[in-house]
């Protein structure tokens, strides 16, 4: 039992909680037992260790300093008692700042427009667009391979000059980028920018969808929210980043956008069937997806527009896999999960719930 007692006294000693009496007892124990002495020495050294300083410690303090200066050296008063006259002054100040902001904004746009024109003449940009039902692969000047999904467009220069390799994407594409640490590769989409050094990843940013996604297969990427350029998010392999665009959220923390990082979705627990990049194998995989979202993917897959005549159908959820099915075959499969009827007219398909009032 004395060994247990030693553990207790040792704990008290190391944590600084030991009483004077117990301390004497502890020292006595050490005096008569060499093993205990050695244990104490080792653990004491362990306890005394100093941590290495955090890498970004200086950077973060600078950021904090900026934030507290922006807010103003004036602290929030403990009891706010602002007389009415003072608030008028405040309004004038706010108005002045607002007008100044507007001017800066217009000036920037003005200069940017000119700049843009220059950029376009000095770098020859190429665009590639894939219409519905197709995918296409292009090779960029540095050997990077980009596979475009249906209804997607990429804008890229014929040759990469300068410090970075930049392209602009609308839609979905899979990137396999050649490694070049000196020249980071940047993919610009409407809401986020993705910076990579050399990796394989998928980007999904369709205009008619409410979210932007990036799934990383190899390497590491750094994502920047276009609305909040100071914010950098690091993604690791097998992670998927999803940004839900503003609109309904009132999350002031990120100026209206909410993002999440989840593991990649493996379909059927098969490591080779990754849901997010299944389109590259000409397979359409979906897991618990709402009909409204699925219909967007199906419309690109089959080149036909889906119109929901019954709103309730939009929320029906489906799990499944499509490959070489024709449209009627695919619809039949969906109907077996949730019954509905449809009418095809030209390039549109109209969906009706069963037992709907017409």
């Amino acid at each position: 039992m004395t060994d247990q007692k030693f553990t207790e006294l040792l704990s008290e000693k190391l944590s600084g909680e030991i009483s004077a009496d117990d301390d004497q007892g502890f020292m006595a124990m050490l005096a008569e037992n060499e093993d205990y002495r050695r244990e104490y020495e080792s653990l004491n050294t362990y306890f005394q260790q100093e941590d290495r300083l955090y890498d970004n410690i200086d950077v973060i303090f600078q950021q904090i300093k900026e934030r507290i200066n922006v807010v103003g050296a004036k602290p929030k008063p403990f009891f706010s008692s602002k007389p009415a006259i003072q608030s008028f002054k405040q309004w004038y100040r706010i108005a002045a700042i607002f007008i100044f902001g507007l001017c800066t904004f217009f000036a920037y746009q003005f200069f940017k427009a000119n700049d843009g024109a220059d950029k376009n003449t000095t770098i020859a940009w190429k665009k590639t667009y894939t219409p519905g039902r197709q995918t296409s692969t292009i090779v960029l000047a540095d050997g990077s391979k980009v596979t475009l999904n249906a209804e997607s467009e990429i804008k890229y220069p014929t040759s990469f000059n300068g410090q970075t390799r930049e392209v602009y994407l609308s839609g979905e594409a899979f990137f396999d980028i050649t490694k070049d640490h000196q020249h980071p590769f940047i993919v610009h989409t409407k809401n986020i920018s993705i910076k990579v050094l050399g990796t394989a990843f998928d980007v999904k940013s369709y205009n008619d969808e409410h979210s932007t996604e990036t799934t990383l297969l190899r390497g590491k990427v750094e994502i920047t929210l276009n609305k909040r350029p100071a914010k950098h998010i690091l993604l690791s392999p097998a992670e998927k980043f999803t940004l839900i665009h503003a609109a309904q959220n009132s999350e002031e923390h990120l100026n209206g956008d909410i993002y999440s990082i989840k593991p990649m979705t493996y379909y059927k627990d098969d490591k080779n069937a990754i849901l997010e990049t299944s389109w590259m194998n000409n397979k359409l995989l979906f897991k618990n997806e709402t009909f409204s979202l699925l219909s967007l993917r199906l419309s690109r897959w089959y080149g036909i527009t889906f119109v929901f005549e019954s709103a309730q159908l939009k929320d029906a959820k489906f799990t499944g896999e499509f490959g070489k099915e024709s449209l009627p075959e695919a619809l039949k499969a969906l109907q077996s999960i949730t019954p509905f009827t449809y009418k095809i007219q030209g390039k549109s398909i109209y969906l009706y719930a069963v037992n709907s009032y017409r």
């Binding site: 553990t7 704990s11 362990y46 290495r52 300083l53 303090f61 904090i64």
Partner: protein
């Protein structure tokens, strides 16, 4: 051995002293961010949480003179915000990319001894990491932040007795790990000695024939 933060905090509250704020930052930041990372896993999230708390701390400094123990206050705030974050993102599985020895220990005074200790301390760290979450956090708060039972109890909202029991558990585990490590170490030296003895005898025999 822990620096007293009260004069710094007083300066910040009453004189709006930014330099004092900076000193406070550098004294506490390392420990606050390690604490935050225990909960949220990711450095970037922790950085943001800590920044927000410190900025708010500065903004509300006039009301801050009533805070008795600034350190406990800040750690409690970090814990609350971290838990809030975890709850909000409960549906999201955060993959921890950093290995647990992200913050490596270095004995700057004696680099030779550092190498000797490094392996042992690594083993001890591993033993701590195997403890259940609460025991681990309690141990780290006491070891790395030099906190007393009462302070830890206040931050984690448990009783000081629980803190003590968990600490005993952790130290017990460390002792076991230490004994195992030394056992292997002495075994190696034993086998080394045996080897040396055999070689010596061999050479002696050779000399016999010369």
């Amino acid at each position: 051995m822990k620096p007293d933060l009260s004069p710094l905090w007083t300066k910040i509250c009453i004189e709006d002293d930014v330099k004092a704020f900076e000193a406070l930052y550098y004294l506490l930041f390392n420990r606050l961010i390690k604490f935050c990372v225990y909960y949220v896993g990711k450095k970037e999230i922790a950085e943001e949480i800590i920044s927000d708390i410190l900025v708010r701390c500065w903004e509300n400094r006039k009301a801050g003179t009533v805070i008795l123990n600034l350190e406990t206050y800040l750690f409690t705030a970090v814990r609350n915000q971290s838990l809030k974050y975890i709850k909000k993102h409960a549906h999201v599985h955060l993959v921890e990319i950093e290995p647990s020895n992200e913050f490596q220990f270095m004995d700057h005074a004696d680099p030779e001894k550092e190498l000797e200790n490094k392996e042992l301390h690594h083993k001890l760290d591993q033993a701590i990491d195997k403890l259940p979450e609460q025991a681990r956090i309690i141990f780290k708060l006491i070891k790395e932040n030099g906190m007393k039972y009462k302070e830890v109890a206040e931050i984690l909202e448990i009783s000081p007795r629980t803190v003590q029991t968990q600490l005993f558990r952790a130290i017990d585990k460390l002792r076991i790990s230490l004994k195992a490590y030394h056992h292997i170490y002495t075994q190696d030296t034993k086998s080394n000695n045996t080897l040396n003895l055999i070689v010596l005898i061999f050479f002696l025999h050779i000399f016999q024939f010369l």
